[in-house]
Symmetry: C2
Subunit: 350 residues, 2 copies
DNA sequence: ACGGTGGGTGAGAGCGCTCCCTATCCTGGC
DNA sequence: GCCAGGATAGGGAGCGCTCTCACCCACCGT
């Protein structure tokens, strides 16, 4: 500590071997699980490792194994407030837990804009990581294609646009959750159920709108307004809806933030919630849901669980040497996508 | 792509050398800046690199250079909603930009609880990264100590508890910002200025409270209530304050979320803002500040900038071979801490 | 014209690890 | 009691790169 010039002479396998009186190969075997080593010897090696404070040199190991025990997490367009969203924080937590358990590193790649795509593609193709977990929420985004071309084992977070059937992804059951929300409103006896949709260039928003339409195929088009997943967008859309269809008695908002905005406008316009208008959101985002008045009924998804699942899917694929550039439908190497269930959480707003 | 068994034969330095008709050493020189190579030759090498799509093998490089071009970002206790906070997202963005510009990787370490500290310490001491950027917001947290013991070059985000004068850190001017907020309220003619403090185990909260006291050393202790940086805490504290000191005419909240909670209670109790009670927050967190009614006057800090600064400080230290376990006050190797300025943003609430 | 100078280049030794292959030991079967 | 054969251990090559050092050659001064 006090001597800044001491470069901390990290012990090598060689040193451990000498200390334990065995060969490098044996130490290596012990360090990597110890299969095929007499337990008495293994014990001696372990003790030596401990006494010397030996930590394997990852670089040397990668050099020969060609694995890196590292996974890239790519988050596109953090410029938008998308990244600031607690959503990613939770997914990251899930991913982190799973990777840590597998002794893998999490390399975070924040992509600022399309200019960066080439750099990211190069990085991924550069063979510095074993796989990638990619969040790219927008339709017609070229990032998924670039990544697929890199032939790196990949799992997407959220259904990607094109070729969703090719690339494995993890997404919640947006459509099913939306159906449940709308059915709940209908079961409450509501007749004029409106929907504030999310941005039409995001698959999650599209799927939720589809779910709404599944239940209400004949719904008046005037009952659907477009939001953008933000409270401000929710306010705007709610005003539009109230002007266009003042007789509405329920709103299914594409996410909780949108619902929060809508609630404010409803109060402003003197509509009581849930008496006059029932409101349901989507996401069950704690900090939002707890702060609305009344507390928001919403569709919950297990975000952290989705993160874990993504990581698990990728790691499992890596173990089996799969995922890599698997052609569509090659279920032998490519793990199947997973749609996680959602659950309606009833609070006071509906 | 279609052949999943092709292990993508990545070209090596050797291959490039052969292709360009030079030695490995020369290619290495060119790839690493090209100093001391005739430009005609360098051109030929560059062309070969391009044609073969050569990407240096990081592992092989690290093995000999003992550098990794990787920095760990340690975020402690993401369990609390701290991590979900857009705050970290923004800092990460700043850090990511800076690291990317230096061609360094960002290895994210999410620490779940004290049980994980040992693991993190081992990882950092394990020599897999060149340095660390650490966020540990709590007082009496052992993490900073553990990390300091790892002798890894480190920059802290936010003033750490003990030995803040030893470890370089980047923090905003919490105390000065608080002073400015309170002075602003005083300049508005407010006489009974209350403060809702943050959790007393976080340096930022303590510093803000200190700033309040700097300006109002004689303030009635009944005017200070304790919050916890959450809206719920803000509500609770505001109720307390109104009960204890109903004549108060201004509130300086330790952060925006707290202010949001306080605002709700003020409305509830029929106090007009800012006419009866002026309110100032801290952070200028967009999604919050925009949604309060009235829009919140607050103290802004350049969060992304702080992230960049942390990374820059660390990288600069690494270049100079410093930061590493530098004894207190060793200004030669250890970069000094940086306190970034804050700015009052006036909106309708004060 | 000749030794000196120095920029430019190549040869070669490893960095720390894994893994193939061979050497050794011990066990059991006859 | 002897050998086949499995279980363990060690030897050694080499992963792809950097870096020191020796070398080469053109050009300088005298």
């Amino acid at each position: 500590m006090t001597a800044p010039s001491t470069p901390a002479p990290r012990p090598t396998l060689e040193a451990v071997a000498a200390h334990a009186g065995v060969s490098r190969a044996t130490v290596s075997r012990v360090v990597n699980g110890g299969a095929g080593v007499r337990s008495s010897l293994a014990g001696r090696v372990l003790r030596a490792v401990d006494e010397l404070g030996y930590v394997p040199n990852r670089a040397a190991r990668s050099l020969v194994t060609r694995r890196h025990d590292a996974v890239a997490v790519v988050i596109a367009e953090p410029e938008t407030r998308v990244f600031a969203d607690p959503f990613f924080a939770q997914q990251l937590r899930g991913i982190s837990k799973e990777l840590t358990a597998h002794d893998s590193q999490l390399v975070l790649l924040l992509v600022e804009g399309r200019d960066d795509y080439a750099r990211v593609g190069r990085y991924l193709a550069g063979g510095h990581v074993d796989g990638a977990l990619v969040f790219s929420v927008h339709l017609d985004d070229e990032l998924p294609d670039i990544i697929r071309r890199s032939a790196l084992p990949t799992v997407f977070g959220g259904r990607p646009d094109r070729g969703g059937e090719c690339a494995p992804y993890v997404d919640c059951d947006n459509r099913g959750g939306a159906r449940e929300a709308v059915r709940h409103l209908r079961s409450l006896g509501r007749k004029r159920i409106a929907h504030i949709a999310g941005p039409p260039d995001q698959t999650s928003a599209v799927d939720r709108l589809d779910g709404y339409r599944d239940v209400l195929p004949e719904a008046d088009p005037a009952l659907v307004a477009r939001g953008d997943f933000t409270p401000a967008g929710g306010e705007r859309a709610m005003r539009e809806l109230l002007d266009r269809a003042p007789e509405l008695d329920a709103v299914f908002a594409a996410n909780d933030l949108t619902a929060a905005g809508a609630l404010r406008v409803l109060h402003e316009r003197g509509r009581r919630v849930p008496e006059d208008v029932a409101v349901v959101g989507f996401d069950d985002m704690e900090p939002v849901v707890e702060q609305t008045r009344p507390p928001l009924t919403t569709v919950r998804q297990d975000i952290e669980g989705m993160g874990r699942l993504m990581a698990r899917l990728l790691l499992r694929g890596l173990e089996r040497g799969g995922v890599r550039g698997a052609p569509c439908g090659d279920s032998v190497t490519a793990p199947a996508s997973v749609i996680t269930p959602t659950a309606l959480v009833r609070r006071a707003s509906a």
